[in-house]
Each structure stands twice: as C-alpha cells, then as structure tokens.
C-alpha cells in the first residue's frame, strides 16, 4: 500500500509536469484571442478551485464565501497600486497575506459552527464584504476602480498588446496551487485534514489538533485565492465590488472541484477544464440573445452532472485501489 501510494504520487507529479509543458506550448498553436481568453480563465479557475479544494475538499469545511478573499486580493492590489503606486507584485503578496490573516481571524468564531450554519455564515460574511465595499467611497464604492494604463511591462504586470504573459501567469498560478495541494496531501497537515473531515471527534481523541488544522487550511486556501484575485484584477483592468466579490465567484470556485471530484488532487483541474470552456461557449453561443438560453443550458448541465456523478467525474476513472488514498 505504502509503495503503491509513493508510486502514485510520483506518477501524479510526472503527469502534472507533462500537462504543464503541453499547456505552456498551446499558445504557439492557438493564436485566436477569444480562445486564448478562455484558456486563461480556465487555468485561473483551475487554480482557484484547487485552492478552494484545500479548505472545503480536503478539510471538509464547505465555504461558499471564498469570493471575499478573491475580492480582497483584487482590491488590496489595486488600492495599493492606484493610491500609493505600489507595484502589483507586492500588492499580490500583500493581498494574499491580508486574506490569510482575515481568514484566520474569521476562523476563530467560524470553525465552531457545523454544517449548514457554517455554510450560511460563509455566504453571509462574503455578502457583508460586498456591501461594505459598495459603500466605501475611498475604494471607489459602487463605481469600482479603473486601473490606469502605464504601458506593457512585467514590472507593472500590465500588457496591452498581447495576452500571453497573463496566460503564463495563470498557468503558473494553477501549477502552484496544484503543487501545494500535491505536497500537502502527503504532509502531516494533509492527513490531519482528512481525519478532521471524516470524523472530527475521533481525530481529536487521537491527538489531531482539529482547530489549528482548520485554521491552516483556511489560511493557505485564502492566500492562494487572493493571489488569483490580484491576477484577475490586472487581467481585466477594471474592478467593482460586484465583479470581484459577487456570490458567483464563490460558486465558480466550488463548481469545478465538485464536478471533477471534491477532495481529490485532480478533480479541480479536470472540472475546470470541462466547465469553464463550456460556460464561456454557452455564453458566447446563446448569451447574445439576452433571453437566458445560456442560463438554461448551463443550469441543466450542472443538474445533470451533479445527479449523475455525485463523486465527480474523476470517479469514472478511479479503480477501487486508488480511492483509498484519495478519500
């Protein structure tokens, strides 16, 4: 079993490296801007979903309020950039740290809650954040922030003529989130988290520090999501509360992981690779009508997939042997 596990982990790492190289080469063949856009979003959501999966999948604390961290990342970066001229790279880091700290601060009261009470609390806190930013004059209130154009440069992480640098950053983010998950999966934390998810009482009695392992998961998860938020802000170069902190982001982070396989290493990537292009294509194809056909198609797909494959698409491939380590 142990040997199998080590072999599987090595294989996962190799597959990931191969996939990353293939992904890195795609821009050589794909010149279409619309397609590149979809690829960037897919990679970004894969990374976000992977980060969400750390807290909600591995540790079992279902959060539908991660839009808060996404928005905090975006706002911290852009406020620092537009008001104090701090480069987005530092803003990104600052956003991550702010989000991780807030996640831990919130963790104190939140992690006492169970089940629906916890989920609703996460939705509510993100909604409070959204409303506060809506009314915060200094941060642009409902008008949001338009990021001033200072020309193409890696230093300012701003590119007007090409989308390629964004593509590579999104790829790097996705790889980072995957690698962190891969690494944590086999660490003390990874085992603690799964124990906390399956049976917190039993885990506690065996000496697992339940509270701190939840805090750790929340901090890592929030940090990575905030970096994603910073990236998104630079990518779209305009943010307002609704467009970076809306409830839909919380769902879009959760959906790929759920569709692919919650609490698994590959679930979020697989889910995002299918879901995000599908979302964008239905919007592209049917969205123009303004009659909600894209919503109908999209919603129907979600219902069908979650009914047909409650454990996610990944369960199609898994052999019984593999599930021992994944769940």
């Amino acid at each position: 079993m142990d040997k199998d596990f080590a072999a599987r982990r090595r294989r996962d790492l190799i597959i990931a490296a191969v996939l990353a190289v293939i992904a890195a080469l795609t821009p050589l063949f794909v010149k279409d801007v619309v397609v590149q856009n979809i690829l960037i979003l897919t990679l970004m959501y894969a990374g976000l979903s992977q980060s969400w999966n750390i807290l909600s999948g591995y540790c079992g604390q279902i959060s539908l309020g991660h839009a808060l961290y996404f928005g905090l990342g975006a706002y911290t970066t852009e406020l620092l950039f537009t008001k104090f001229g701090v480069l987005p790279w530092f803003g990104m880091l600052a956003g991550g740290v702010v989000s991780a700290l807030i996640a831990m601060g919130l963790g104190y009261p939140f992690f006492r809650l169970r089940g629906h009470y916890f989920v609703i609390a996460t939705i509510v806190i993100a909604e409070i954040g959204l409303l506060l930013f809506h009314n915060w004059e200094w941060a642009g209130a409902a008008m949001g922030i338009t990021i001033p154009i200072r020309g193409d440069s890696w230093l300012k992480f701003q590119f007007l003529r090409t989308k390629l640098p964004y593509f590579y950053f999104a790829l790097a983010l996705c790889c980072l989130a995957w690698f962190v998950t891969w690494w944590l999966e086999n660490s003390k934390w990874g085992f603690w988290w799964r124990a906390v998810k399956d049976n917190p009482e039993a885990a506690e009695s065996l000496g697992v520090d339940v509270f701190n392992s939840k805090m750790g998961a929340a901090a890592v998860s929030a940090f990575l999501v905030a970096v994603g938020g910073s990236f998104y802000a630079q990518f779209v170069s305009y943010i307002d509360p609704e467009s970076v902190m809306g409830f839909q982001f919380s769902l879009l982070m959760a959906l790929p992981a759920v569709l692919g396989g919650i609490g698994t290493l590959w679930g979020p990537v697989l889910g995002a690779a299918i879901l995000i292009p599908l979302t964008e294509l239905t919007r592209f194809k049917f969205g123009g009508s303004g009659r909600g056909v894209d919503l109908i198609v999209y919603g129907t797909l979600i219902v069908l997939i979650s009914l047909a494959l409650p454990r996610g698409l990944l369960s199609l491939f898994s052999r019984p042997k593999k599930t021992g380590a994944a769940r």
Partner: protein
C-alpha cells in the same frame, strides 16, 4: 416587513429546516409564484389576494413534481450528499431564472391596481401599509398552521421520523418519497402564498427571488433548523433589525445588520435560537 420575511422563510423552514434538504432554488419558487399571480391578474383580472390559494395550489404541485423528478435523486447520493443537493438545486435555480427570462423577458412588471397596493390603514394614529399588514396576518396564520401540522398530525410526525431515520420509517410502512414529496409541495405552497401577496406591491422580474433567498436562509438558520417557531422568531428579528439598521446606516447597508445579527447569534448559540439539529 419582518413578518413578510417570515412568510417567505416558513416554506424554507419546512424544506430546509425540518426535512434537512438544501434548497437553493427557494427564491426562484417565490419568483414563479409572483409571475403566476401576475399573469392571473393580467389575463383574468383576478386580484393577487384572491388568486393566492390558486397560486399556492399550483406551487404545491410544482414543488412535489420537482421533488419527485429531481431532488429525490439528489438525496440518493451516498458520497457528499450535501454538495450534490446544493449544486443540483442551484443548477435548478439557474434553469428557472433562464426560463423566466426566456418566456417572460427580463422586463420589470408590476400589478398596477390591486386591492392592496399602495393603500394604508390607520390604526390609532399610525399609518400602516395594507399589503404588509395582510402579509403579516397571513404569515402568522401560516406559521400557526404549520406548527399545528407538524406537531399535532400523523403526517408531521411521519415527516420528522423520516428525516431522523428513513430506514426505520420504511419498516413501519411509511413511504419516504410520498412523505417528502408532500413536504416539498407544502413548502412550495407556502412560498406560493408569499409570492402572491408580494406580487401586489413588489416589482416582478426573473432575478427577484435571489434578493430574498439569502435573507430567507438566514432567517431559518437564525431561528435554528428543525424549529417552526424558530423560523417565525427569526423572521420577526430580521424585520426589526433591518428597520433599525436602516435608521442608523445608509439604506444600501440595511442587510449588513441582518447578517451581523445572524453571525452574532450563531457564535453564541451555534444551533440558532431554537434549533434542534
């Protein structure tokens, strides 16, 4: 207004609170009810107040059918049942919103001259808007009815027993699906009542449900899952808190008060005010 939130929440209290099934499409049920009430008015000139029983009956059927067609299967999932329920009902909500946009267009509609709309009644020198007053009355009746129903009838006992242990319930000859389908129907019928009353004084558009849904979840959770009385109390508290917040903070922040009170309550009592689950 608090009792209106209560009225929207009472159906959810039954589905979400008592049967422990997540329903993220609750707001969309409300939206459907409002449209029904609107069309009954537009085509047959039936006042929302009169059509309320019709709308409730239609939503009863709708709720039961949704349960039998979709939710039943979502509950069957063995692995992460909670997530499956969340996303199935959420997908359903998106479809319903899309359908509403497709058939009814995203335009805002309202019922111009209903019996209730825009009228006020003066009680001891205080002017009260009539729709809210009627809403409050219906809400109290609905809660009382549901309370009686759950605690005094065989069906109510069957419902609670089914949630507790579907296996044991099957042994004594209760059909889980029939009980839950009826429960879903009833929950939908209650939100149908709410929709009919709200249609007479609120704008009707495809996304209208979303704005009320989160407050309905908060109301149910604030009162505590598994308690009808809790949801009623939750509704009153939510209404009061909203009114007070609107006085102190800018109106766009009025929901913040509600959310903050929810957080405060569950931090002190992790199972809500009167929760048993």
């Amino acid at each position: 207004m608090g009792l209106l939130y209560g009225l929207i929440a009472v159906g959810l209290a039954l589905i979400f609170g008592l049967m422990d099934v997540t329903n993220f499409a609750h707001g969309e049920f409300l939206m459907i009810a409002m449209y029904l009430s609107f069309f009954l008015f537009a085509f047959f000139a039936i006042d929302p107040l009169l059509s309320a029983p019709l709308v409730a009956a239609a939503l009863f059927i709708f709720g039961a059918v949704i349960y039998l067609l979709i939710v039943r299967f979502a509950m069957r999932a063995k692995a992460n049942a909670g997530m499956v329920q969340i996303f199935t009902t959420f997908g359903l909500a998106i479809v319903m919103r899309g359908l509403a946009q497709f058939f009814f267009t995203p335009d805002y509609r309202s019922i111009p001259q209903s019996w209730l709309g825009g009228k006020t009644i003066s009680v001891a020198g205080i002017f009260l808007p009539e729709p809210q007053l009627v809403g409050a009355l219906v809400s109290i009746l609905a809660f009382a009815g549901l309370y009686f129903f759950i605690h005094r009838t065989d069906f109510g006992r069957a419902l609670e027993a089914t949630r507790e242990d579907p296996g044991a319930v099957a042994l004594v000859g209760i059909d889980k699906n029939r009980v839950f389908a009826f429960g879903w129907g009833l929950g939908a019928a209650l939100v149908g009542l709410a929709g009919a009353i709200m249609a007479s004084f609120f704008y009707i558009y495809p996304d209208v449900g979303a704005s009320f849904a989160l407050i309905a979840y908060v109301t149910v959770a604030l009162g505590g899952f598994g308690s009808v009385f809790g949801a009623f109390a939750g509704g009153i508290i939510v209404g009061l808190v909203e009114a007070v917040t609107a006085l102190v903070l800018p109106p766009s922040l009025k929901s913040v008060g509600i959310y903050a009170v929810y957080l405060l309550v569950v931090f002190i009592r992790p199972r809500g005010l009167f929760g048993s689950i």
